[in-house]
């Protein structure tokens, strides 16, 4: 018997309308865990680098994690993986909600989709019964509306539906896949789904998911809940409220947005507004938020309820996901009310809440600069908010200028020309980043921004504090019960980290410590993404519930496969290295590993070179950021090394 996993994948060929249930190789679980790890293995094996993201040969994989469907609190992520239309590299995005557990209970770990349907269809997975159904009546409909209609027509109120909206259907490069209160937003996976003419996947499952060592396993789950309760009663002092608790983060509960509004930039990732947050704003935003929020909502089997249903007067109801309330607000230099209003449309269309507002702000800046003219924007209303609504609509329909903007700022700037590229200033690897512009280079963040394979800072950053604490007392207090550190030395790094002087950024933490810190944070994300754990309980917040010391036993008890810290770390490293190799095969090299030029005012080219050099070495990569033969061999992936050598990406060194 297979434990925790079902041992079966569903293979769907949309071109031929073929459906197959295929047993997976249990050895792959030991090597790659599941979720992101086994997705990467499939993409390496089956999608050669020549394959265009928008083509029938590309695969789109929806996977539950290894712990999905078990009672492990928060193990609810669906890991969607494919190749990104925007970056042309591997694109993966995780969504919470209820889909992953339902898929496991239907008897599958993954749905692997290939081909392209001639007409718009949706997939209905009901335990062993799987059908491809006509979706022509759903064309153009909003994501939530689509889910409602599907549930009704199937008469299955308990089915879970992941759907695309207009943006996905029209292959917008940053279209999302929406599922109730959650979404897989980054890197345009909704566009890939649209390219396959797959409007939605509905799933219902009523089968068991088995646990290998039940008594042991449930004890770990109870310990996790106990810790969540403890943290609820004891928020961390010494950090802003948004960083004090667990969750992903608690954007809907917290009104104090001083930290985001003063530290993050507004408009097209340009302006810091250090004096924005006043008592009046604080009061009015609190009121707006409380009026808009109907109920705090959790994902499957998680107590943290960091989403909320929104009932804002005059707009259709929807569910808000963490930070989206501020991204539109700040890009439009507007008010929180605007954020609540436009998110209703944005989610119905199914677009990424980080990239979309930046693309619109970018277009408006080009207009101000005279690079886009009235001719390009014929029919655009006056007023920034109205313009946001108008441009959003053009983009998801790919109408007029919207067709160009739908490819994101990098590709749009290239097409527009005339100096537009200067305005697409906030990208890494062709992908829009958090709007952050800071003063002094932070070595930890430099490495995370440069090398993160997800190309999204929130998917690599985490539990090491983002900045030093000002007093030694606070630091000592913080490290006292910091049990999550993989090694005591991390406490030293933090204790010695000062706001000013010799032991401050950019030269502290020193390069070798920086490498270790970044590697630790990244490793936790790779474990989470493979077992399907929400980062909000694990890799993302300070002092999380899951960590390197309780994970191995918990995963072992669930699966019956014995992991210890070393072998779990090795599996995470294997997955991380494989994804790197997939991207190397698609052309990723050192020159791509750069944060935006204006990310920090003060840059240190020598230090930055050294950081990359040392980090690559630490990771077992060569000077171009490509895993070496030895590294790949040690990870049991010599087949990857051979392939890279054959393609001339790695040079055979012995001869």
């Amino acid at each position: 018997m297979r434990y925790a996993e079902t041992g079966y994948n569903l293979e769907i060929d949309l071109t031929r309308g073929n459906i197959e249930r295929v047993e997976s190789d249990p050895r792959l679980t030991e090597l790659h865990l599941g979720g992101l790890g086994t997705n990467a293995k499939i993409l390496w094996d089956r999608v050669p680098p020549e394959v265009e993201p928008y083509s029938p040969e590309n695969l789109l994989i929806f996977s539950a994690g290894l712990l999905g469907g078990t009672p492990a609190p928060g193990a609810n992520r669906t890991i969607v993986s494919s190749f990104s239309p925007q970056t042309k590299l591997m694109g993966y995005s995780m969504m919470g909600g209820f889909f992953a557990a339902e898929l496991k209970h239907a008897g599958y770990d993954k749905v692997i989709i290939r081909g392209q349907s001639p007409d718009l269809v949706y997939l209905w997975i009901n335990n062993d019964k799987v059908e491809i159904r006509d979706a022509s009546h759903l064309k153009g409909l909003g994501t939530l509306e689509t889910a409602e209609i599907i549930r009704k027509e199937l008469n299955e109120p308990n089915s879970q539906v992941a759907a695309i909206g207009l943006a996905g259907e029209n292959r917008v490069f940053y279209a999302s896949i929406e599922q109730g209160r959650s979404s897989a937003s980054r890197l345009g996976l909704g566009g890939v789904m649209g390219d396959k003419r797959l409007k939605a996947i509905a799933v219902r499952g009523t089968k068991d998911v088995n646990i290998a060592r039940p008594a042991e396993f449930i004890q770990h789950c109870n310990d996790i809940l106990k810790y969540v309760k403890f943290r609820d009663k004891n928020p961390l002092g010494m950090v802003p409220p948004i960083l004090a608790g667990l969750g992903s983060p608690q954007e809907m509960r917290i009104h104090d947005e001083e930290w985001h509004t003063t530290n993050f930039t507004w408009g097209n990732a340009r302006h810091r507004r250090k004096d924005f947050w006043t008592e009046d704003i604080s009061k009015s935003w609190k009121e707006t938020q409380e009026n808009a929020t109907q109920r705090f909502l959790s994902c499957y089997n998680c107590p943290l309820s960091c989403g909320a249903s929104v009932d804002y007067p005059g707009v259709p109801k929807y569910m808000m996901k963490c930070y989206s309330k501020l991204t539109y607000t700040m890009a439009a230099m507007s008010d929180l009310e605007f954020g609540f209003k436009i998110n209703s449309n944005a989610q119905a269309f199914g677009v990424d809440g980080f990239t979309t507002p930046q693309v619109i702000a970018f277009a408006l800046e080009l207009y101000e600069a005279g690079i886009l003219t009235d001719k390009d924007l014929a029919g655009m209303p006056a007023g920034t908010e109205e313009r946001f609504f108008w441009l959003l609509d053009r983009i998801v329909r790919r109408e007029g200028i919207g067709d160009i903007l739908a490819d994101g700022t990098y590709w749009a700037a290239k097409k527009i020309g005339n100096g537009a590229e200067e305005y697409a200033h906030n990208n890494i690897k062709k992908h829009e980043q958090l709007p952050l512009k800071l003063g002094m280079l932070n070595p930890i963040y430099f490495l995370m921004y440069s090398t993160g394979e997800k190309i999204n800072i929130t998917q690599i950053e985490g539990q090491f504090p983002q900045a030093p604490f000002s007093t030694k007392e606070d630091r000592e207090e913080f490290v006292k019960d910091w049990i999550q550190v993989p090694d005591e030395k991390f406490k030293e790094y933090f204790l010695n980290w000062e706001m000013r002087g010799e032991r401050s950024i950019p030269h502290y933490p020193p390069v070798d410590a920086t490498c270790e810190i970044v590697d630790w944070m990244e490793k936790m994300h790779y474990i989470d993404d493979s077992v399907g754990m929400c980062a909000g309980l694990s890799s993302f917040p300070l002092k999380p519930a899951y960590h390197l010391h309780n994970y191995p036993e918990l995963i072992s008890a669930a699966t019956g496969i014995d992991f210890d810290e070393a072998s779990l770390s090795q599996a995470a490293k294997r997955n991380r290295t494989l994804i790197r190799a997939i991207n190397n095969r698609r052309g990723l090299r050192r020159e791509d590993e750069r944060p935006p030029e204006d990310h920090w005012k003060h840059r240190f080219p020598e230090l930055e070179t050294k950081l990359l050099d040392e980090y690559y070495k630490f990771k077992g990569w060569n000077n171009q950021g490509i895993p070496t033969r030895e590294t790949l061999q040690e990870l049991g992936m010599d087949y990857v090394g051979e392939d890279l050598e054959q393609r001339g990406i790695l040079i055979h060194e012995q001869s």
Partner: protein, 179 residues
């Protein structure tokens, strides 16, 4: 019939606090698997969350008695402007719907207040509801003694209702012979 003291166990359900996480279903299903916690399957839970987030409907419902036939009429509640579905508040394992039935056999499920867990432990769904939407309360009452059907009897009764007592007896006889 004589009077006996009986502990009345109540779970107070505060629907306003429910965040829709379904942890109650998860832990109930896991606890009642055999051996305990050896599998998970919310479709076997003895509590079911009726969930419609866009209508703001969140009703955790406990599995009550098995009934042979569906109701003659249905109720539809409107509370605070929210219109609930027919049967939303009903605890019965009833032929009209598939909740509170084992997914494969169709045998009815019933909340047993986790009695196997011993008298000092709160029901598992209460323990796992960190939102405090489920609150356990206990009091003593004097009631008339009556005979209670056990789990097996209940299961058999439902099978008898479904297939007829005769077919059931014949099947059991056949199975014993094959034994």
């Amino acid at each position: 019939m004589s009077k006996v003291k009986k502990k009345v166990k109540t779970i107070k359900i505060d629907v306003d606090k429910c965040n829709g996480c379904r942890a109650c279903e998860v832990i109930c299903a896991s606890f009642h698997s055999a051996p305990k916690y050896s599998s998970n399957n919310p479709a076997r839970a003895r509590i079911r969350l009726i969930r419609d987030p866009l209508k703001d409907i969140f009703v955790p419902v406990y599995a009550g008695e098995y009934v042979e036939a569906e109701c003659m009429g249905r109720d539809k509640y409107v509370i605070d402007g929210k219109e609930y579905g027919e049967c939303d508040f009903c605890r019965a394992a009833c032929p009209s719907r598939d909740v509170f039935k084992e997914p494969d056999s169709g045998l009815p499920l019933k909340c047993d207040m986790c009695e196997e867990n011993g008298p000092d432990e709160e029901p598992l769904c209460v323990q796992w509801c960190l939102a405090d939407a489920l609150i356990y309360e206990e009091r003593e009452e004097e009631v008339e003694e009556d005979v209670k059907l056990g789990d097996l009897e209940l299961g058999l009764k439902s099978l008898a209702d479904k297939h007829g007592l005769r077919t059931l007896m014949e099947t059991v006889a056949r199975m014993t012979q094959k034994g």
